[in-house]
Symmetry: C2
Subunit: 317 residues, 2 copies
């Protein structure tokens, strides 16, 4: 196996921004931009827990950073940099490292951030990627989970459930569909939504543990209830095809994890302006329900009947 | 096993500062103090790699944060907060979690910082603690590894080799010595040295991989050579006793890892002021050699003869 210092010099130093001090100093240094608050988030990805053991190295690199960029986007934050904690099993060769760093590079170009530093260690049987991402928001503009109010409209970016269906494809329990698989292995963090959330969202969350579970965070933190219409849930073509054939897969749409889409609440008065601005981003964004007084998250069918959603969410843990 | 959200609420939320937003928001938010640069560092500790499998939970908590505080101290940075990435194996019970968070709490009180956030996941066989620590230095006062010049005096805090000897005690290859063992399990980051390094050090590094290996970083980055006198190396009583009986253990003093002491270089003209200020901290600090023109790190015995230090360092990796 390649040594720690060689790995850093060959594969990671080219990803570093000036804050990384060429990755020779065991620390990053930067001057925070004036008038900005810093947002920090951390997500760990473990092989065999957060992604299948046979996931391609490039996808692991992309995904590990992308899930952190998704967290920043939900806060309305602009990515700045990240620290990479990499626990290698000893089975990763030069090609693996090249592919992994290529995935990281694509994700950091997508998010317009650079590598600040990190630590590379030997771990046990499971490859572990622990990323701390740093972003900025103008002071006072951090988007919380606690500002939703009755009357707000609930929006969701992209389509729901694809990643969970894609994972089922990878595991072979559903017929393979490249689009759905790609939704699991290459989640697209909604970085471009961050400025709009800062302007228009009363509350936001990224959907990593399933729509209902993450909507539940907003319900709890904002002390409100969220009513979501099943008929309005945005579905991909691949999901449509599967659901037509296997209607039992429907709960994946609202309980499946790993979509890394955003859910946000918007005051009714802001809806026209929000929708106009969203169009400019090219990101699809669908109104799926309303915030009401009460507690909890409720899913309704087209006839206004509440759906029993026993399987309330997804926890990696 | 206890669930993720319960763990966070019960054990980690009490460690959080206001920046952690009660750990319910998946992100930390803070306004960097004006006129300060931020220093970020990341160190991962893996059970069975960085500490023995049977290490007490409290020691793991202390140690995992302490090694990051040591990195900050070497840069002259004052600790501000940290993000905790915790990979649990599933064998950790409530008592383990209480002890682990107690160790973290002691270390954060020692370093005067608080928990900003993090991620708790299920990992494989090896407990993994990935910490990102954040500190501040006044703009332009970051202490690098690259400023040493010929003529500078080389200082070392504390005593050398204790942690490696302590680890040998734990492993049973040396007779047990509580003091030495404690030097491995509860390293004392030299937080109080940070302001002095900012004022007086031309270069500094924390000694985590062994004296010669870490001195080597300064030699390379500063493009100088470091001459160190074996006779001046500060030794603990426990180390003295072992070396008197087993002189073959001497290389542990300059090649053993995990001491988390600081090495710094000070211009000859600043020596009196530096030594006076160090006394006020109560931390022992010993001059052990000189920076000279050239490249590499050289160890000399009392007669000025160069010692062959084949075993040049220690790598966890």
């Amino acid at each position: 196996m390649v040594g720690e210092f060689e790995i850093i010099e060959k594969y990671f130093a080219p990803l570093a921004g000036p804050e990384g001090l060429s990755l020779i100093d065991d620390a990053a240094l930067f001057n925070p931009p004036e008038g900005m608050s810093l947002v920090l988030t951390k997500d760990i990805s473990v092989s065999g827990v957060h992604f299948p053991l046979n996931t391609a190295a490039e996808a692991i690199g992309w995904r590990s950073l992308a899930v952190n960029l998704s967290d920043l986007a939900a806060k309305g934050a602009k990515p700045l940099g990240y620290l990479l904690g990499l626990g290698l099993t000893g089975r990763e060769d030069a090609q693996w490292l090249a592919d992994f760093s290529s995935g990281l590079k694509k994700a950091q170009l997508f998010g317009r951030c650079t590598l600040f530093g990190g630590d590379t260690v030997r771990t046990g049987e499971r490859l572990t990627v622990s990323i701390t991402a740093i972003g900025t928001v103008p002071v006072g503009k951090f988007v919380t989970r606690s500002g939703a109010q009755p009357g707000d409209v609930i929006y969701i970016t992209g389509t729901m459930g694809d990643a969970a269906l894609g994972l089922a494809c990878i595991k072979g329990t559903l017929k393979s569909d490249d689009q759905l698989i790609s939704r699991f292995t290459y989640p697209q963090p909604r970085v471009a939504m961050a400025p709009l959330l800062r302007l228009y969202a009363s509350a936001a969350v990224d959907i990593s543990d399933g729509l209902l579970a993450d909507a539940g965070h907003i319900a709890v933190c904002s002390n409100v209830a969220l009513k979501i219409d099943k008929a309005r849930l945005p579905l991909s073509k691949g999901a449509h095809t599967i659901l037509a054939k296997y209607p039992d897969e429907w709960p994946q749409i609202w309980s499946g994890g790993d979509d890394y889409e955003l859910l946000c609440c918007v005051r009714a008065a802001s809806v026209p302006a929000f929708e106009a601005k969203v169009k400019e981003t090219g990101i699809s964004c669908t109104s799926v329900g309303r915030v009401v007084a009460g507690a909890g998250v409720y899913l309704y069918d087209g006839d206004g009947l509440q759906i029993d959603t026993e399987k309330q969410g997804f926890q990696h843990f």
